[in-house]
């Protein structure tokens, strides 16, 4: 495969039983926003014309023969295989289902998470993601073309080498955790940390004051003036109430606990 191949790679797309999320993303990559044709990449309709296979899916038993046939139908050179998506890279969430093909009796729980396309074909490029966004696929393809260097490298940490520091927050950890948990109800897991951070900042300030309850209320009101988003306001309000509820609750519980213990 000469230099020209880097300027022109024709790909054939093979689905080995994927949920078609990846398939659509592969197709999506061909559309105006990503346009791999500018690197000479073209989707072709028959493996005979293809230099590379984009394989998606966890390699079901039913697909296995077909995928092998596709591979054999490609010209003997260069036969690049790209595993697109987590399923193709490792079997994905389906890795140990009964219709999934596995060579030998590998279970797919090893560190490499063996499974997927590599059970059948030699893979030249893994593009994990569920589904990998078109940019991610482009990145993989760009690597094949030599336009980009790979970014990932294995990471190995042990607790002895890293410095462990329990983060300190202005409020009690258990209350923080409870608030964090109940915040899921209000604003969802994604935004909760930032909201909680804001709240803790306020709460910390309030806790230093003489009358934390009033101070906190005042600060939250101030936050209301500054913040435009109704949901953040709503959750801030919720946090304020919840905070005091938990505190009180704990006091009561603790008192009860101590009492019973004393008994």
């Amino acid at each position: 495969m000469g230099k020209a191949a880097l300027k022109s790679v024709w790909v054939f797309h093979v689905d080995s039983g994927s949920c078609n999320g990846c398939d659509i993303e592969v197709l999506d990559m061909l559309t105006p926003y990503y346009d791999p044709e500018r690197f000479g990449i073209k989707l072709v309709g028959t493996p005979r014309h293809a230099d590379a296979l984009l394989v998606t899916g966890p390699m079901t038993r039913q697909c296995r023969r077909g995928v092998q046939k596709v591979y054999e139908a490609m010209p003997p050179k260069p036969r690049i295989v790209v595993a697109v998506g987590s399923c193709a890279s490792s079997g994905g969430i389906f890795y140990d289902g009964y219709p999934i093909y596995r060579s030998k009796d590998r279970f797919g729980r090893d560190r490499l998470r063996s499974g997927g396309v590599e059970e059948v074909l030699p893979v030249d490029m893994y593009i994990p993601g569920c589904p990998p966004s078109p940019e991610a696929i482009l990145f993989g393809v760009a690597q094949l073309l030599g336009l980009k260097e790979k970014k990932m490298k294995g990471e190995y940490y042990t607790d002895k080498e890293t410095e462990f520091k329990l983060p300190q927050y202005p409020i009690e950890e258990r209350i923080r955790l409870s608030l964090r948990e109940s915040l899921k109800k209000v604003i969802g897991y994604f935004d909760r940390d930032r909201v909680l951070e804001d709240f803790m900042e306020i709460a910390g300030e309030a806790n230093r004051a003489e009358n934390p309850k009033e101070k906190l209320h005042a600060l939250v009101t101030g936050y209301f003036l500054q913040e435009k988003d109704s949901r953040l306001k709503f959750s801030m309000k919720f946090l304020e109430n919840e905070y005091w509820r938990l505190k009180d609750d704990y006091e009561n519980k603790y008192v009860a606990l101590v009492e019973t213990h004393v008994q």
Partner: protein, 202 residues
């Protein structure tokens, strides 16, 4: 109040794709210029080794077994192994993580010719059982964290400080003793986040 940092929502609103082209060819410039995903993106999960306590809540939450816990009871090691090759980016690990060590980053450029590159391991040392000398199933950090969470009063009241340092069998024995003595179960699940409670149960 007077800080100048942009508020959370403003930072989200102001985000723009860096490589967008304006005009007729709408094709983005990526991969010729770097790009980034929106802040809401769920990318490759990453364990912050400085914060991870090795509780394994993420492992239990993971539907795809992209996260596994490897136990080496001989050497007292527990490794949380993450492999984004299997990851489905559901974010349940992030949701479950009690310390915020597990985060889905904005990283999407995972492609690699070698799957070794994707493996991420965080190794933890286990505590030793005070009673029998075997390794317990708690990591050192886990114990430390537990003490941070639990109010001192409760720890003292239930002698949890002792119990945390025991292996499962020994703890069972202890519990049975106490149960027999008091006729009730100690510890309030309300005070522990459920995930953590699950993590502790194992």
């Amino acid at each position: 109040m007077e800080d100048v940092k942009i508020s959370y929502t403003e930072s989200l609103i102001s985000w723009k794709r860096p490589d967008l082209r304006v005009g007729v060819p709408v094709t983005v410039k990526y991969p010729l210029v770097p790009t980034e995903k929106p802040p809401e993106y769920r990318g490759k999960p990453h364990i912050d080794p400085n914060v991870c306590i090795g509780c394994g809540a993420c492992v239990r939450a993971c539907p795809a077994d992209a996260l596994t816990a490897e136990w080496d009871l001989e050497n007292g090691l527990k490794s949380i192994v993450s492999n984004p090759a299997r990851c489905i980016r559901c974010g349940r690990c992030e949701e479950a993580c009690p310390t915020g060590a597990m985060k889905l980053t904005l990283e999407f450029e995972l492609a690699t010719p070698n799957k070794e590159d994707l493996v991420e391991v965080v190794e933890h040392h286990l505590t030793k059982c005070k009673k029998c000398g075997d390794y317990t199933e708690f990591t050192e950090r886990q114990v430390e964290k537990a003490f941070q969470i639990l109010p001192k009063e409760i720890v003292d009241a239930n002698a949890l400080g002792e119990k945390m340092q025991l292996c499962r069998e020994c703890r069972m024995e202890e519990s049975v003793k106490i149960l027999a003595a008091q006729g009730r179960i100690i510890g309030d699940p309300l005070l522990l986040p459920p995930q953590h409670a699950k993590g502790g149960e194992k």
